[in-house]
């Protein structure tokens, strides 16, 4: 995933320079923009960087790059708590609600997370509250059987997603499982009725047990629309973490830097492929290194 990255080459060329001239600054700016940081976050970073370089009297592009790495790392928040709530609390399972726009990898992520939890010897239940998309519940159930956990789903297409979520969480409470993972239909944040439906799903679940995690799944290829996704989804379900998927491709996922600035919610997990084991904890340093690679 390193090869055809235009910017990588740019930065490399830059590092071989002796002095910091306007070209160096332009090159850095392009690196950030091309990683999807967006113009606002990029402008702020550039200002900060120029200020620090001036104060320090830094002379080499290498040092500038180092400082940039530090600033980025600070933005990503190296000290944030990125753990998932996966223990029972007050005699109730931990409910994890998974949300996001269409096709980002919600269902797949649930399969992968369930796999990790099973490996940790937890009792897990899946709830198929995507009753809309063709074969969505079957897809989740296939993941369930793949990793060896049961799935609660409705027999009929187009059932009320909130009531399926309710049934799943109720089953989880009754069976005293550790974690209930609830899959939801993909929805674009500008669709008010679908966002209202999501709010309802959460409220109905909470008649049974609190939603301990609301994970926003974000496709690493996402551009500036990620900001609008973060804003609206967090208004509706109070996001507790971001899962950045499809990082096995060429996209850097730089939009999470801007999202982090805006929301302050940490990226907790990353997706690195379509298989059950292609999930990893988010590593801020590795992420920043890849951004500047």
């Amino acid at each position: 995933s390193k090869s055809n990255n235009v910017l990588g080459k740019g930065l490399l060329a830059l590092l071989s320079r002796e002095r910091i001239d306007e070209d160096v600054w332009d090159e850095i700016e392009e690196t950030l923009l091309t990683a999807d940081l967006g113009t606002d976050a990029t402008d702020d970073l550039m200002l900060q960087l120029r200020a620090r370089v001036k104060v320090e009297g830094s002379r080499t592009p290498e040092r500038v790059r180092e400082i940039l790495g530090e600033e980025l790392l600070a933005l990503v928040g190296p000290d944030m708590d990125r753990s998932l709530a996966t223990d029972r609390e007050d005699g109730k399972p931990s409910v994890i609600l998974v949300v996001g726009v269409n096709g980002v990898g919600k269902t797949t992520t649930i399969g992968k997370v369930a796999r990790v939890l099973v490996a940790e010897d937890k009792d897990v239940l899946l709830g198929a509250a995507d009753t809309f998309r063709a074969a969505a519940a079957e897809q989740l159930a296939t993941w369930g059987s793949r990793v060896g956990v049961p799935t609660v789903k409705s027999d009929q297409d187009g059932a009320d997603p909130a009531s399926v979520a309710f049934d799943a969480v109720k089953a989880g409470v009754d069976q005293e499982v550790d974690v209930v993972l609830v899959d939801t239909a993909g929805r674009l944040q500008n669709k008010t009725n679908l966002m209202d439906e999501l709010g309802k799903i959460k409220r109905v679940i909470e008649k049974q047990a609190p939603v301990r995690e609301a994970l926003l799944v974000l496709d690493a290829t996402t551009g500036q629309n990620g900001l609008s996704q973060a804003k609206v989804f967090s208004e509706v379900v109070n996001i507790t973490g971001i899962v950045l998927t499809k990082l096995d491709g060429t996209a850097k996922g730089g939009i999470v830097v801007a999202m982090q600035r805006q929301l302050g919610v940490p990226v907790k997990l990353i997706g690195l492929g379509e298989g059950p084991d292609d999930l990893a904890p988010f590593d801020p340093q590795a992420f920043v290194d890849a951004l500047l690679d």
Partner: protein, 315 residues
């Protein structure tokens, strides 16, 4: 969050109004705003750079300096350049002279291929064709079931000889190349005049899967290979479009999820780096949410200019 380009340009133009002539500095300022708006719309950095340079060159030329209202003229140039890269006139589907017309879909994971297959099938059926859908994604869990449901909703038959990955069939045993080839034979036999082949999502950097896509293509010799791309994609649009262009040499582009609020600058990036036409827009999850692509609407959307003509009048 960010001001729309119309706001920004209006502000820039306010200073220009009454000036009559644009100085190079005036043009520079305007072009900077345009570049920024393109970047905010997710147009790829190198594409935005070239675009801004082209606009600048024209803006400094005679057509602007001799115009009654130079600012208006700049907006007009921006719009014209955008529409021309986005394709000017839309291209229609190419049909085979003999035998069934084969349409293959390709794209990243989750781009909207399977959904599009249903939309395309329904639309073609409404135009008097007799399409057959072919389930050649044996990889994503329940992709075959998904296509079957989609086909049912579209009222179009689905050729699905292999169940793909399902709870009962965990291992991938079928061969998508064979399924695709047999799908075309099936269509010929049952006298369907169009075959739409749904394929698994794949990354541009996944050599093995890209080779598989090429193998499918070579086995079915499609008249059209449609590259489906999500309108929310950011700077990676260029890498991805180039990879698929080199990988399968697609013939047309479909922009999906245009019902969202993404600006969709990727449209400009893809069209400009591949030169391939954008043919359709996918605008929702339902089987009817599908349109022929309109370059002029897209131009206004990317720059958030709404009705460009109104803006030109205001300038």
């Amino acid at each position: 969050m960010f001001n729309s380009l119309s706001d920004r340009l209006s502000a820039t133009f306010k200073n220009l109004r009454g000036k009559g002539r644009l100085s190079e500095a005036d043009v520079d300022g305007t072009v900077r705003e345009i570049r920024r708006a393109l970047l905010d719309a997710d147009v790829a950095v190198p594409v935005a750079r070239d675009f801004a340079a082209a606009v600048k060159e024209r803006a400094l030329g005679a057509e602007v300096s001799e115009a009654l209202n130079p600012a208006q003229q700049v907006v007009k140039i921006v719009n014209e350049e955008l529409v021309s890269i986005l394709g000017g006139q839309t291209r229609r589907l190419q049909f085979a002279k003999v035998g069934p017309t084969v349409i293959m879909l390709a794209g990243l994971q989750g781009a909207g291929k399977t959904t599009l297959a249903g939309k395309l099938a329904k639309w073609l059926a409404s135009e008097g064709h007799t399409p057959l859908l072919v389930a050649a994604d044996l990889q994503r869990p329940n992709a075959v079931t998904q296509l079957k449901v989609v086909g049912e909703r579209a009222g179009v038959p689905v050729y699905a000889p292999h169940p793909g990955v399902q709870s009962d069939f965990e291992e991938v045993t079928g061969n998508p190349v064979v399924v695709a080839r047999n799908g075309v034979s099936e269509a010929r036999q049952k006298q369907h005049d169009v075959v739409i082949v749904d394929t698994a999502g794949r990354l541009g950097v996944d050599e093995a899967l890209m080779q598989q896509a090429r193998d499918i293509r070579d086995a079915i010799r499609p008249q059209e290979i449609l590259f489906v791309i999500d309108a929310m994609i950011g700077q990676d649009a260029v890498n991805t479009a180039n990879a698929f262009n080199e990988g399968v040499d697609f013939t047309g582009v479909v922009l999906s999820k245009l019902d969202g609020d993404a600006r969709g600058g990727a449209a400009l990036s893809v069209a400009s780096v591949t030169g391939k036409p954008i043919m359709f827009a996918s605008t929702g999850e339902n089987v009817n949410d599908f349109e022929v692509f309109h370059p002029d609407r897209m131009a206004g959307r990317i720059l958030d200019m709404g009705d460009v003509l109104t803006l030109i009048e205001q300038a």
